[in-house]
């Protein structure tokens, strides 16, 4: 079979006289045609089922069980607890502060990332091609930094003793600094001790690393809008803000919808940066991701309540995802 295909045109064996058109329904690989896509899907489906869906079911099961050190090592079977894990996490202040941190962080970081990213995207569109490439390469550096390294970098910039942020704040004229922040001396300011300032640093870090993706996506969208529309707007004397509101925004609405949902999902489960910035000792600074894994893995291991927190986080994310999927299916012929 393979051999015939390597024969050049016109040299085909006489077994198929008159160059009859190959019928698509012939059994080429020994499989009925209808089954081919399913066969191709098997490896992918097996991976998804075994490593994503099955664990998901397991996670829900574990959330109703007591799984501690004895159960992990197999010395005792998992004990069924019913809703007890949920009752105890809902009763725990750390759960509510984690939920608050998760939500407040997303509510602040998502719009900031989107606004900054869109502004830079519009800027890139208006810049000359050389300048635009220069800025794109620049923002790509921020985008490419691995999340753990992002945390490391910002932890260093905000370092109490030798951090450059404290140095820069000390540069402000004392009167201005006092008027703005009620203090003039920033030497030794520990930014990563209390929850509020940890999340401020985290927000800066995530916005810094997140805006380039938004900017490049918005730029790609803008390039698809016919220039005549802007021409017409200019002729009609429209202001830039009005042009953005009446032309750019409506046309890019689907892009913004997808970007918003993706940003919400990413910011909701932010982990690596927070792990580096805050560590696991400061329980007040946990978000849901951190709370779930520390509860599950930090001694004494409580996999059951860890799983219960993970279930709460997953449910929230799946609700958001539903919006994403609706948008994707609306926009695209699949």
């Amino acid at each position: 079979m393979t051999k015939t295909s390597t024969l050049p045109r016109g040299e085909r064996s006489s077994a198929t006289p008159g160059r009859r058109r190959a019928h698509p329904a012939r059994k080429a690989s020994g499989l009925p045609v209808w089954s081919i896509p399913y066969v191709l899907l098997i490896p992918g489906l097996v991976v998804i089922a075994a490593l994503l869906l099955y664990p998901l079911v397991q996670m829900v099961t574990i959330s109703f069980q007591k799984v501690g050190l004895l159960q992990i090592s197999g010395r005792r079977p998992a004990e069924w607890l019913g809703w007890e894990n949920y009752a105890s996490i809902f009763d725990n202040d750390i759960f509510w502060s984690s939920l608050r941190n998760t939500v407040v962080f997303a509510v602040v970081a998502v719009p900031l990332t989107l606004i900054l990213g869109t502004a830079v995207g519009v800027l890139l569109h208006r810049l000359g091609s050389k300048m635009s490439l220069f800025v794109i390469i620049g923002i790509m550096f921020a985008w490419a930094v691995p999340p753990v390294a992002q945390g490391v970098i910002w932890r260093w910039l905000f370092d109490a003793e030798a951090g450059i942020i404290n140095w820069a704040l000390n540069l402000l004229p004392d009167s201005l600094s006092s008027a703005l922040f009620g203090r003039a001396d920033w030497t030794g300011e520990p930014w990563l001790n209390d929850t509020w300032s940890i999340y401020m640093v985290l927000t800066i870090c995530v916005v810094w690393a997140g805006f380039p993706f938004i900017a490049v996506s918005v730029l790609a969208g803008l390039k698809g809008i016919p220039a005549e529309l802007y021409e017409a707007a200019r002729v009609d004397g429209s202001t830039p803000w009005r042009t953005f509101r009446k032309i750019t925004f409506p046309l890019l609405k689907p892009v913004f919808a997808v970007l918003t949902v993706l940003s919400i999902i990413w910011d909701f489960k932010v982990f690596s940066q927070l792990y580096v910035l805050a560590g696991t000792t400061n329980r007040d600074a946990y978000n849901l991701s951190m709370y779930a894994v520390t509860e599950a893995f930090k001694a004494p291991q409580k996999m059951g309540s860890g799983a219960a927190i993970a279930v709460v986080l997953t449910v929230i994310l799946l609700i958001v995802t539903a919006a994403y999927i609706r948008q994707m299916f609306k926009q695209e012929e699949l």
Partner: protein
């Protein structure tokens, strides 16, 4: 003001903003690299030292020899590379098969499968790590790089299929039909016609999976406890457990970790956007 002067002014303002954006984006990265090459005297100071005037490889050579947690960071970089490459090799084959199925065939269950891909992409790794930890232990894969590879394949596959699908769909079907008419078998058609044309997309998808696996922290943190199996993200956060933070060493290590990603990024940046917001963006 004359229109010409006004246009010049606008252009100058735009370019200035552009330069400002460039500086904001690159400065933290620059600061990481420059700290890595400064002497400790220049690092631990309350003064601002823009360039490492006493340029040194001291930190870099220290992390490459002594390293952290008792091993050179070469070991961790190697472990990360093994995990990421393993993920890419397995993931690429699986993704290509599935992507061909959904892009080339219309079959029952196709749309539900696509929806499933989107849903499973969103399951947080933080949630999966708990059940996966138990399974990996039961299978004897705890503390094994293979265990990490398997979990990373799972985490990267859904997006890989989603992204690769658009590349397969972009290859005109008529090419395959031509080969088909000339008597090529299905396998030959796939291997000789479709595969070469999809290869660039496969490279882009693979790089994306590589970066994801290279950066991943949670699975490595909880599925590995043996320091000789640490991946780079785990090693990097390990520095903070030490007494007195050795910023020079940390910055040298994180520079080493960031470098390959930056290089790969230059290749795939545009394709990544098209994968994530495909359809919504006409780029």
């Amino acid at each position: 003001m004359s229109p010409l002067a006004r246009r010049r002014l606008t252009k100058a303002a735009l370019n200035t903003t552009g330069v400002l954006v460039f500086l904001v984006a690159t400065f933290p990265v620059y600061w990481m690299v420059s700290t890595a090459f400064k002497t400790n005297d220049q690092i631990f100071t309350t003064d601002f030292i823009p360039f490492p005037t006493q340029f040194t490889f001291e930190h870099l050579s220290r992390v490459l020899t002594e390293g952290v947690a008792g091993h050179s960071i070469w070991l961790y970089l190697r472990n990360s590379a093994i995990v990421a490459l393993g993920t890419v090799l397995i993931g690429a084959v699986f993704a290509l098969l599935s992507a061909t199925a959904v892009a080339r065939f219309r079959f029952k269950g196709r749309v539900p499968f696509l929806a499933l891909l989107l849903v499973v992409q969103m399951i947080p790794a933080e949630a999966l790590v708990i059940p996966l930890f138990l399974s990996v232990r039961r299978l004897g894969l705890y503390d094994q790089l293979l265990g990490l590879i398997v979990t990373q394949v799972a985490l990267t596959l859904p997006f890989g299929i989603w992204m690769l699908r658009t590349f397969v769909a972009a290859v005109p079907k008529s090419l395959e039909e031509a080969a088909w008419i000339d008597g090529a078998s299905r396998f030959t058609t796939f291997w000789k016609v479709l595969f070469p044309l999809v290869a660039p997309g496969l490279v882009a998808t693979s790089i994306f999976s590589f970066i994801t696996a290279w950066n991943e922290l949670i699975m490595s943190l909880y599925l590995i406890s043996d320091p000789t199996k640490y991946t780079m993200p785990v090693a990097l956060q390990y520095f903070f457990g030490q007494k007195g933070t050795d910023w020079g060493a940390i910055m040298a290590s994180s520079t080493m970790m960031t470098l390959p990603v930056v290089i790969f990024f230059l290749f795939v940046q545009r394709r990544m956007v098209s994968g994530l917001v495909a359809g919504a963006v006409k780029g």
